[in-house]
Amino acid sequence: MRIPYAFPLAAALALAPAAPAAGQVRLTAMVGVTGSSALVTDQIFEDIELKPALAPTFFLSASLPVATRLRASLDLSYGSSSADLTESGQDASDLGSIGVLTAAVALEGPLVSRLSWRLSLGVIEYLPSEETGLFSDGVPVAGLFGAGLDWRQPLSERWSGVAGVRYDFHLFTTPTLEAAGFSGSQQVSRVGLAIGAAWDFQ
């Protein structure tokens, strides 16, 4: 699924509504790591796999209540790591670094105790440091489905500590891969773990 130019729009939408609803807004900032499944699997003599290494990731979100026990959230995340190529399981080469930016709208609600669930829809954009090889004609923005769990520990009237686990799924391809004869898109799953803090406006 490709959504060219959708990322700036989604990012703008994600940031815009926070101010007007300030009275009920909760801002959350977290830092963690994200692991990804392979972006490309191939076979040239041996099996080849291109996969981002574990990426330090920043998560930001702004949420507000939209119903009883339900909040709507606008999420941004950014992580960066090396793009590692392995051939038959052995390290083959490093294709430079690759940044991953996501923007999503999410719904979240309480589950049990201080645990809450979240589901999200959004877009993901890959930002390779070098536009060579399979990245030479860029990487289109793709649609993203996500889910997660958050544990929230109140620290004061406004502040709480947060620990979260995030999962998302998207399809990856590039124009260069398509031109090279790849059909379809690679299914990519990512899992992130993060801790941070949330601040509730009164």
């Binding site: 939209v66 083959a92 090889g133 489905f145 799924f169 690679q186 299914q187």
Partner: protein
């Protein structure tokens, strides 16, 4: 809306997204690239090891040849998906991995040189591979020497395209395509006329880069 309503919707969406399945290309058609050594005793395959990238190419600054070679480098780099080949033009021939001279190929200096010749109507080219069997392995003595030369007076005939095709062809030899093909649509055809790389050229170059090399570059 509650979790009871949103969860089925999300699962439905995830299911729809996961319908696609990526399939990698077969790299067919391709052609034989390996050098048949000493009457068929062995076949030699070569690609630049990762720790030697980018390959350093020195080009004699004559007849705009550095620009032609740079175009060839750009074409070949574009054939690879995973950074298997990269090259830069350098100003010092003494440390170059590949040396390109704008001159008619001279007589072979030593018997171990394996020469691959190319002949076009307007120009000619050659690539010399100095190969020796040392101890337990085949070694490719660097630099690889390439020659490109006009067959007519370049002052009276525009040989730009001829130089472009020849440079691209000889660079193909330097990255391990050691045989000429029988298809005139390939840049590695013996007397090339193709204006770019064919699908067979690209498939074969990708195979070469991942095939186990038994010819090791040395200095």
């Amino acid at each position: 809306m509650t979790a009871r309503h949103t969860l089925p919707l999300a699962l439905l969406l995830a299911g729809a997204l996961s319908c696609a399945e990526a399939t990698s290309p077969s790299r067919v058609p391709n052609y034989e690239w390996r050098l048949v050594w000493e009457g068929g005793l062995d076949t030699l395959s070569f690609h630049w090891p990762e720790d030697m990238l980018p390959v350093k190419i020195w080009v004699e600054d004559s007849l705009d040849m550095p620009a032609r070679v740079q175009e060839g480098v750009d074409d070949w780099q574009g054939a690879f998906l995973y950074g298997e080949y990269a090259a830069v033009l350098v100003s010092d021939s003494s440390s170059a991995d590949v040396v390109v001279r704008v001159v008619t190929p001279p007589p072979k200096a030593i018997a171990t040189v394996n020469r691959l010749n190319t002949l076009l109507p307007g120009c000619e080219g050659a690539t010399d591979l100095d190969i020796e069997f040392i101890a337990t392995q085949y070694e490719l003595r660097l630099p690889v020497r390439m020659y490109v030369a006009p067959r007519y007076d370049p002052a009276t005939t525009d040989l730009t395209e001829c130089f472009r095709v020849t440079a691209r062809h000889e660079l193909g030899h330097s990255l391990g395509l050691f045989q000429h093909t029988s298809d005139s649509r390939d840049i590695m055809y013996g007397n090339p006329e193709a204006e770019g790389l064919s699908a067979r050229d690209i498939n074969t170059a990708q195979l070469v880069a991942h095939w186990p090399a038994n010819l090791i570059p040395t200095r």
